[in-house]
Protein backbone atom coordinates (compact mmCIF):
# COMPACT_ATOMS: atom_id res chain seq x y z
CA UNK A 1 0.00 0.00 0.00
CA UNK A 2 2.46 2.58 1.18
CA UNK A 3 4.87 0.76 -1.16
CA UNK A 4 2.73 1.55 -4.15
CA UNK A 5 2.89 5.27 -3.60
CA UNK A 6 6.54 5.26 -2.69
CA UNK A 7 6.25 6.64 0.78
CA UNK A 8 6.73 3.52 2.87
CA UNK A 9 8.61 4.57 5.96
CA UNK A 10 11.33 2.06 6.57
CA UNK A 11 14.80 2.18 8.06
CA UNK A 12 15.91 2.67 4.46
CA UNK A 13 14.03 5.91 4.29
CA UNK A 14 17.15 7.93 4.80
CA UNK A 15 15.86 11.49 4.70
CA UNK A 16 14.06 10.88 7.97
CA UNK A 17 17.22 10.58 9.91
CA UNK A 18 20.05 11.79 7.78
CA UNK A 19 22.24 14.75 8.66
CA UNK A 20 20.63 15.79 11.91
CA UNK A 21 22.78 13.33 13.78
CA UNK A 22 25.35 15.51 15.51
CA UNK A 23 28.31 13.34 16.29
CA UNK A 24 30.67 13.24 19.21
CA UNK A 25 33.09 10.52 20.12
CA UNK A 26 33.11 9.77 23.84
CA UNK A 27 36.25 8.84 25.76
CA UNK A 28 35.55 5.12 25.85
CA UNK A 29 35.28 4.99 22.07
CA UNK A 30 31.51 5.10 21.83
CA UNK A 31 29.73 7.43 19.49
CA UNK A 32 27.16 9.82 20.92
CA UNK A 33 24.56 11.06 18.47
CA UNK A 34 22.24 13.99 19.14
CA UNK A 35 18.93 13.46 17.37
CA UNK A 36 16.22 15.71 18.82
CA UNK A 37 13.36 14.49 16.67
CA UNK A 38 9.86 13.50 17.65
CA UNK A 39 9.43 9.91 18.75
CA UNK A 40 6.61 9.89 16.24
CA UNK A 41 8.59 11.35 13.34
CA UNK A 42 7.62 8.59 10.97
CA UNK A 43 3.96 8.94 11.85
CA UNK A 44 4.19 12.72 11.43
CA UNK A 45 5.87 12.26 8.08
CA UNK A 46 3.08 9.98 6.88
CA UNK A 47 0.50 12.42 8.24
CA UNK A 48 2.01 15.25 6.21
CA UNK A 49 1.79 13.03 3.17
CA UNK A 50 -1.89 12.27 3.90
CA UNK A 51 -2.57 15.98 4.18
CA UNK A 52 -1.04 16.47 0.74
CA UNK A 53 -3.40 13.87 -0.72
CA UNK A 54 -6.36 15.63 0.86
CA UNK A 55 -5.27 19.12 -0.09
CA UNK A 56 -4.70 18.16 -3.69
CA UNK A 57 -8.38 17.19 -3.88
CA UNK A 58 -9.62 20.11 -1.77
CA UNK A 59 -10.99 17.82 0.94
CA UNK A 60 -11.38 19.01 4.54
CA UNK A 61 -10.53 16.15 6.93
CA UNK A 62 -12.00 16.15 10.43
CA UNK A 63 -10.89 13.77 13.17
CA UNK A 64 -13.52 12.91 15.80
CA UNK A 65 -12.26 11.80 19.20
CA UNK A 66 -14.15 10.80 22.35
CA UNK A 67 -14.63 8.04 24.87
CA UNK A 68 -16.47 4.93 23.61
CA UNK A 69 -20.14 5.58 23.03
CA UNK A 70 -20.07 9.39 23.37
CA UNK A 71 -22.05 9.62 20.14
CA UNK A 72 -19.54 10.02 17.31
CA UNK A 73 -21.31 7.78 14.80
CA UNK A 74 -24.72 9.15 15.76
CA UNK A 75 -23.45 12.70 15.20
CA UNK A 76 -22.13 11.68 11.79
CA UNK A 77 -25.45 10.07 10.86
CA UNK A 78 -27.33 13.21 11.85
CA UNK A 79 -24.81 15.40 9.99
CA UNK A 80 -25.24 13.35 6.82
CA UNK A 81 -29.02 13.63 7.13
CA UNK A 82 -28.81 17.39 7.57
CA UNK A 83 -26.13 18.30 5.02
CA UNK A 84 -26.00 15.32 2.68
CA UNK A 85 -27.86 17.28 0.02
CA UNK A 86 -25.32 20.12 0.04
CA UNK A 87 -22.02 18.35 0.62
CA UNK A 88 -20.30 15.20 -0.51
CA UNK A 89 -19.02 13.24 2.48
CA UNK A 90 -16.92 10.15 3.10
CA UNK A 91 -16.07 8.50 6.40
CA UNK A 92 -13.15 6.50 7.74
CA UNK A 93 -14.18 4.47 10.77
CA UNK A 94 -11.70 3.23 13.36
CA UNK A 95 -12.73 0.46 15.73
CA UNK A 96 -11.00 -2.33 17.57
CA UNK A 97 -13.41 -4.86 16.04
CA UNK A 98 -16.52 -4.97 13.79
CA UNK A 99 -17.70 -3.16 10.68
CA UNK A 100 -20.80 -1.87 12.51
CA UNK A 101 -20.07 1.84 12.33
CA UNK A 102 -19.08 1.76 8.65
CA UNK A 103 -22.29 -0.14 7.89
CA UNK A 104 -24.35 2.50 9.68
CA UNK A 105 -22.75 5.16 7.44
CA UNK A 106 -23.08 3.10 4.23
CA UNK A 107 -26.76 2.58 5.01
CA UNK A 108 -27.08 6.32 4.28
CA UNK A 109 -25.39 5.98 0.90
CA UNK A 110 -22.11 7.49 2.04
CA UNK A 111 -18.80 5.73 1.25
CA UNK A 112 -17.15 4.43 4.41
CA UNK A 113 -13.94 2.52 5.00
CA UNK A 114 -13.69 0.54 8.21
CA UNK A 115 -10.26 0.21 9.80
CA UNK A 116 -10.25 -2.53 12.41
CA UNK A 117 -7.25 -1.87 14.58
CA UNK A 118 -7.23 -5.21 16.41
CA UNK A 119 -5.56 -4.34 19.68
CA UNK A 120 -4.36 -0.84 18.76
CA UNK A 121 -6.35 1.67 20.74
CA UNK A 122 -5.95 4.52 18.24
CA UNK A 123 -5.63 5.24 14.54
CA UNK A 124 -2.25 6.19 13.12
CA UNK A 125 -1.29 7.95 9.92
CA UNK A 126 -0.30 4.74 8.14
CA UNK A 127 -3.72 3.14 8.72
CA UNK A 128 -5.44 6.29 7.49
CA UNK A 129 -3.21 6.37 4.43
CA UNK A 130 -4.31 2.87 3.45
CA UNK A 131 -7.92 3.87 3.90
CA UNK A 132 -7.41 7.02 1.80
CA UNK A 133 -6.29 4.90 -1.12
CA UNK A 134 -9.50 2.87 -0.86
CA UNK A 135 -11.64 5.99 -1.24
CA UNK A 136 -12.24 8.25 -4.16
CA UNK A 137 -11.44 11.74 -2.86
CA UNK A 138 -12.60 13.32 -6.10
CA UNK A 139 -15.25 15.97 -5.48
CA UNK A 140 -15.43 15.27 -1.75
CA UNK A 141 -16.14 18.20 0.55
CA UNK A 142 -15.52 16.66 3.95
CA UNK A 143 -13.84 13.45 5.06
CA UNK A 144 -14.68 12.45 8.61
CA UNK A 145 -12.29 10.20 10.48
CA UNK A 146 -13.98 8.60 13.47
CA UNK A 147 -11.15 7.61 15.78
CA UNK A 148 -11.25 4.65 18.15
CA UNK A 149 -13.33 5.46 21.24
CA UNK A 150 -10.58 6.31 23.75
CA UNK A 151 -9.76 9.50 25.64
CA UNK A 152 -6.03 8.81 25.91
CA UNK A 153 -4.19 7.47 22.89
CA UNK A 154 -5.71 9.08 19.77
CA UNK A 155 -4.48 12.56 20.76
CA UNK A 156 -0.81 11.68 20.23
CA UNK A 157 -1.09 10.65 16.57
CA UNK A 158 -1.39 13.16 13.74
CA UNK A 159 -3.41 11.54 10.95
CA UNK A 160 -3.19 14.31 8.37
CA UNK A 161 -6.50 15.83 9.43
CA UNK A 162 -7.14 19.56 9.37
CA UNK A 163 -9.34 19.78 12.42
CA UNK A 164 -9.87 17.85 15.65
CA UNK A 165 -13.28 17.56 17.22
CA UNK A 166 -13.46 16.24 20.76
CA UNK A 167 -16.87 15.06 21.99
CA UNK A 168 -17.92 14.93 25.61
CA UNK A 169 -21.29 13.32 26.33
CA UNK A 170 -23.39 14.46 29.26
CA UNK A 171 -23.37 11.07 31.08
CA UNK A 172 -19.55 11.17 31.30
CA UNK A 173 -19.46 14.10 33.72
CA UNK A 174 -18.23 17.68 33.38
CA UNK A 175 -14.76 17.08 34.84
CA UNK A 176 -13.37 15.09 31.90
CA UNK A 177 -11.28 17.96 30.44
CA UNK A 178 -9.43 18.16 33.76
CA UNK A 179 -8.86 14.39 33.83
CA UNK A 180 -7.81 13.98 30.19
CA UNK A 181 -6.04 17.25 29.38
CA UNK A 182 -4.12 15.94 26.39
CA UNK A 183 -7.13 15.05 24.26
CA UNK A 184 -9.20 18.09 25.26
CA UNK A 185 -6.28 20.42 24.63
CA UNK A 186 -6.05 18.99 21.10
CA UNK A 187 -9.64 19.97 20.27
CA UNK A 188 -10.39 22.68 17.70
CA UNK A 189 -13.96 22.51 18.91
CA UNK A 190 -15.53 20.80 21.90
CA UNK A 191 -18.95 19.30 21.27
CA UNK A 192 -21.08 18.44 24.29
CA UNK A 193 -23.28 15.59 23.09
CA UNK A 194 -26.53 14.06 24.35
CA UNK A 195 -27.62 17.44 25.74
CA UNK A 196 -31.21 16.12 25.71
CA UNK A 197 -30.12 14.28 28.87
CA UNK A 198 -29.20 17.48 30.75
CA UNK A 199 -32.58 17.70 32.54
CA UNK A 200 -32.15 14.14 33.82
CA UNK A 201 -28.42 14.21 34.58
CA UNK A 202 -28.54 17.65 36.11
CA UNK A 203 -25.27 17.38 37.98
CA UNK A 204 -23.53 17.98 34.63
CA UNK A 205 -22.85 21.72 34.46
CA UNK A 206 -21.91 22.80 30.91
CA UNK A 207 -20.29 25.98 32.25
CA UNK A 208 -18.08 23.92 34.52
CA UNK A 209 -17.02 21.73 31.59
CA UNK A 210 -16.13 24.91 29.75
CA UNK A 211 -14.14 26.26 32.72
CA UNK A 212 -12.13 23.02 32.85
CA UNK A 213 -11.43 23.42 29.13
CA UNK A 214 -10.35 27.07 29.53
CA UNK A 215 -7.95 25.99 32.28
CA UNK A 216 -6.10 24.12 29.50
CA UNK A 217 -5.41 27.48 27.83
CA UNK A 218 -7.95 26.56 25.15
CA UNK A 219 -10.07 29.26 23.55
CA UNK A 220 -11.99 27.02 21.15
CA UNK A 221 -15.78 27.06 20.82
CA UNK A 222 -17.90 24.80 23.02
CA UNK A 223 -20.99 23.60 21.16
CA UNK A 224 -24.00 21.66 22.39
CA UNK A 225 -25.52 18.91 20.33
CA UNK A 226 -28.31 16.43 20.64
CA UNK A 227 -29.13 13.83 18.07
CA UNK A 228 -32.50 13.39 19.74
CA UNK A 229 -33.80 16.89 19.09
CA UNK A 230 -33.94 18.46 15.66
CA UNK A 231 -32.77 21.83 16.92
CA UNK A 232 -29.78 20.37 18.73
CA UNK A 233 -27.32 20.48 15.86
CA UNK A 234 -27.45 24.06 14.60
CA UNK A 235 -24.18 25.21 16.17
CA UNK A 236 -22.32 22.14 14.96
CA UNK A 237 -23.64 22.40 11.40
CA UNK A 238 -22.76 26.09 11.25
CA UNK A 239 -19.23 25.34 12.50
CA UNK A 240 -18.80 22.66 9.83
CA UNK A 241 -19.99 24.92 7.03
CA UNK A 242 -17.68 27.72 8.16
CA UNK A 243 -14.70 25.37 8.43
CA UNK A 244 -15.28 23.90 5.01
CA UNK A 245 -15.54 27.36 3.41
CA UNK A 246 -12.46 28.61 5.26
CA UNK A 247 -10.54 25.55 4.11
CA UNK A 248 -11.46 26.06 0.45
CA UNK A 249 -10.41 29.68 0.79
CA UNK A 250 -7.04 28.74 2.27
CA UNK A 251 -6.33 26.14 -0.37
CA UNK A 252 -7.13 28.69 -3.07
CA UNK A 253 -4.29 30.75 -1.64
CA UNK A 254 -1.94 27.80 -1.60
CA UNK A 255 -2.11 27.30 2.16
CA UNK A 256 -3.29 24.46 4.30
CA UNK A 257 -4.01 24.17 7.98
CA UNK A 258 -3.29 21.83 10.81
CA UNK A 259 -5.18 21.33 14.04
CA UNK A 260 -4.79 24.43 16.19
CA UNK A 261 -2.70 22.87 18.91
CA UNK A 262 0.78 22.54 17.60
CA UNK A 263 3.32 20.73 19.68
CA UNK A 264 4.73 24.02 20.95
CA UNK A 265 7.25 22.62 23.37
CA UNK A 266 8.46 20.06 20.87
CA UNK A 267 8.83 22.70 18.21
CA UNK A 268 10.91 24.89 20.46
CA UNK A 269 13.20 22.04 21.43
CA UNK A 270 13.50 19.91 18.32
CA UNK A 271 15.84 20.27 15.39
CA UNK A 272 13.26 18.74 13.11
CA UNK A 273 11.75 20.66 10.22
CA UNK A 274 8.05 21.50 10.38
CA UNK A 275 6.14 18.52 9.01
CA UNK A 276 4.02 21.01 7.06
CA UNK A 277 7.03 21.89 4.93
CA UNK A 278 7.12 18.40 3.62
CA UNK A 279 8.98 19.12 0.44
CA UNK A 280 10.01 15.99 -1.39
CA UNK A 281 7.89 14.32 -4.02
CA UNK A 282 6.15 11.00 -4.08
CA UNK A 283 4.41 9.39 -6.98
CA UNK A 284 0.78 8.77 -6.29
CA UNK A 285 -2.02 6.70 -7.45
CA UNK A 286 -5.58 7.51 -6.56
CA UNK A 287 -8.40 5.11 -5.84
CA UNK A 288 -9.52 5.62 -9.42
CA UNK A 289 -6.41 4.46 -11.20
CA UNK A 290 -5.74 1.68 -8.69
Amino acid sequence: MCDTCGCNITPGNKHLVQTDGKLARTQDGKTAVTVLKSLLSENDHQAAHNREHLDRQGVLAINLMSSPGAGKTTLLEATIDALGGDYKFAVIEGDLETENDAERIRARGIPAVQITTGNACHLDAHMVHEALHQLSLDGLDILFIENVGNLVCPASFDLGQHRNVTLLSIPEGDDKPAKYPVIFRAADVLVLTKTDLLPVLNDFDPDKAERHLRALASQVPVLRASARKDTGLDGWLAWLRAERDAHRHRLAQGETLRPAIQPDGSRLHALTEEPAQHGHRHTHHTAKDA
Binding site: L40, D124, V182, A215, A217, D264
Partner: protein, 114 residues
Protein backbone atom coordinates in the same frame (compact mmCIF):
# COMPACT_ATOMS: atom_id res chain seq x y z
CA UNK B 1 -1.65 1.26 25.28
CA UNK B 2 -0.09 3.30 22.54
CA UNK B 3 3.32 3.44 24.23
CA UNK B 4 4.15 0.18 22.46
CA UNK B 5 3.49 1.72 19.03
CA UNK B 6 5.44 4.83 20.03
CA UNK B 7 8.31 2.62 21.14
CA UNK B 8 8.27 0.65 17.89
CA UNK B 9 8.34 3.87 15.89
CA UNK B 10 11.23 5.16 17.96
CA UNK B 11 13.16 1.92 17.47
CA UNK B 12 12.80 2.15 13.70
CA UNK B 13 14.41 5.58 13.87
CA UNK B 14 17.08 4.23 16.19
CA UNK B 15 17.84 1.33 13.83
CA UNK B 16 18.13 3.69 10.87
CA UNK B 17 20.54 6.00 12.69
CA UNK B 18 22.58 3.06 13.97
CA UNK B 19 22.92 1.61 10.49
CA UNK B 20 23.81 5.01 9.06
CA UNK B 21 26.74 5.07 11.51
CA UNK B 22 27.53 1.38 10.94
CA UNK B 23 27.07 0.76 14.65
CA UNK B 24 27.21 -2.76 15.98
CA UNK B 25 25.04 -1.95 18.94
CA UNK B 26 23.21 0.77 20.84
CA UNK B 27 24.37 1.47 24.40
CA UNK B 28 21.73 3.92 25.43
CA UNK B 29 18.77 5.87 24.13
CA UNK B 30 17.72 9.12 25.79
CA UNK B 31 14.20 10.40 25.29
CA UNK B 32 12.50 13.51 26.68
CA UNK B 33 8.81 13.47 27.39
CA UNK B 34 6.47 16.00 28.94
CA UNK B 35 3.22 15.18 30.74
CA UNK B 36 1.18 16.77 27.94
CA UNK B 37 2.60 14.48 25.26
CA UNK B 38 0.15 11.75 26.20
CA UNK B 39 3.03 9.35 26.80
CA UNK B 40 3.51 7.78 30.21
CA UNK B 41 7.22 7.31 31.03
CA UNK B 42 6.56 4.11 33.01
CA UNK B 43 4.54 2.56 30.19
CA UNK B 44 7.24 3.51 27.71
CA UNK B 45 9.82 1.83 29.93
CA UNK B 46 7.64 -1.30 30.16
CA UNK B 47 7.15 -1.43 26.40
CA UNK B 48 10.83 -1.00 25.62
CA UNK B 49 12.11 -4.55 26.35
CA UNK B 50 9.23 -6.04 24.33
CA UNK B 51 9.74 -3.74 21.38
CA UNK B 52 13.54 -3.84 21.34
CA UNK B 53 13.98 -7.63 21.54
CA UNK B 54 15.87 -8.81 18.51
CA UNK B 55 16.78 -5.29 17.34
CA UNK B 56 20.12 -3.51 17.33
CA UNK B 57 18.95 -1.75 20.51
CA UNK B 58 18.25 -4.98 22.38
CA UNK B 59 20.86 -4.28 25.06
CA UNK B 60 20.37 -0.52 25.19
CA UNK B 61 19.47 1.35 28.34
CA UNK B 62 16.41 3.56 27.89
CA UNK B 63 16.80 6.85 29.71
CA UNK B 64 13.57 8.83 30.04
CA UNK B 65 13.93 12.49 31.03
CA UNK B 66 10.68 14.10 32.17
CA UNK B 67 10.24 17.75 31.31
CA UNK B 68 8.21 20.19 33.40
CA UNK B 69 5.11 22.00 32.20
CA UNK B 70 5.93 25.68 31.68
CA UNK B 71 3.82 28.45 30.17
CA UNK B 72 4.33 32.03 29.05
CA UNK B 73 1.46 34.44 29.61
CA UNK B 74 0.19 36.31 26.57
CA UNK B 75 -1.26 39.03 28.79
CA UNK B 76 1.47 39.87 31.29
CA UNK B 77 4.45 38.08 29.74
CA UNK B 78 5.36 36.13 32.87
CA UNK B 79 6.78 32.62 32.59
CA UNK B 80 5.69 30.11 35.18
CA UNK B 81 5.64 26.44 36.03
CA UNK B 82 2.24 24.84 35.67
CA UNK B 83 0.35 21.56 35.95
CA UNK B 84 -1.09 19.57 33.00
CA UNK B 85 -4.71 20.52 33.66
CA UNK B 86 -4.18 24.10 34.88
CA UNK B 87 -2.17 25.88 32.22
CA UNK B 88 -2.91 29.29 33.68
CA UNK B 89 -0.46 32.13 34.21
CA UNK B 90 1.15 31.74 37.64
CA UNK B 91 1.41 35.54 37.89
CA UNK B 92 -1.96 36.95 36.80
CA UNK B 93 -4.10 33.83 36.39
CA UNK B 94 -4.95 34.49 32.74
CA UNK B 95 -5.75 31.43 30.61
CA UNK B 96 -4.29 32.91 27.42
CA UNK B 97 -0.93 31.24 27.74
CA UNK B 98 1.53 29.60 25.40
CA UNK B 99 3.09 26.31 26.32
CA UNK B 100 6.88 26.57 26.59
CA UNK B 101 7.49 22.97 27.52
CA UNK B 102 5.60 19.91 28.63
CA UNK B 103 4.27 18.36 25.40
CA UNK B 104 7.57 16.99 24.11
CA UNK B 105 8.14 13.44 23.00
CA UNK B 106 11.64 13.62 21.65
CA UNK B 107 14.28 11.12 20.76
CA UNK B 108 17.05 13.26 22.24
CA UNK B 109 20.25 11.28 21.75
CA UNK B 110 21.84 7.86 21.48
CA UNK B 111 25.15 6.25 22.34
CA UNK B 112 26.44 3.78 19.75
CA UNK B 113 29.13 1.14 19.78
CA UNK B 114 30.94 1.00 16.49
Amino acid sequence: MHELSVCQGMLRQVAAIASEHQASGVESITVRVGPLSGIEPELLAQAFPLASAGTVAEKAALIVESLPVRVRCRSCGAESESTPNRLLCGQCGDYQTQLLSGDEMLLASMELTT
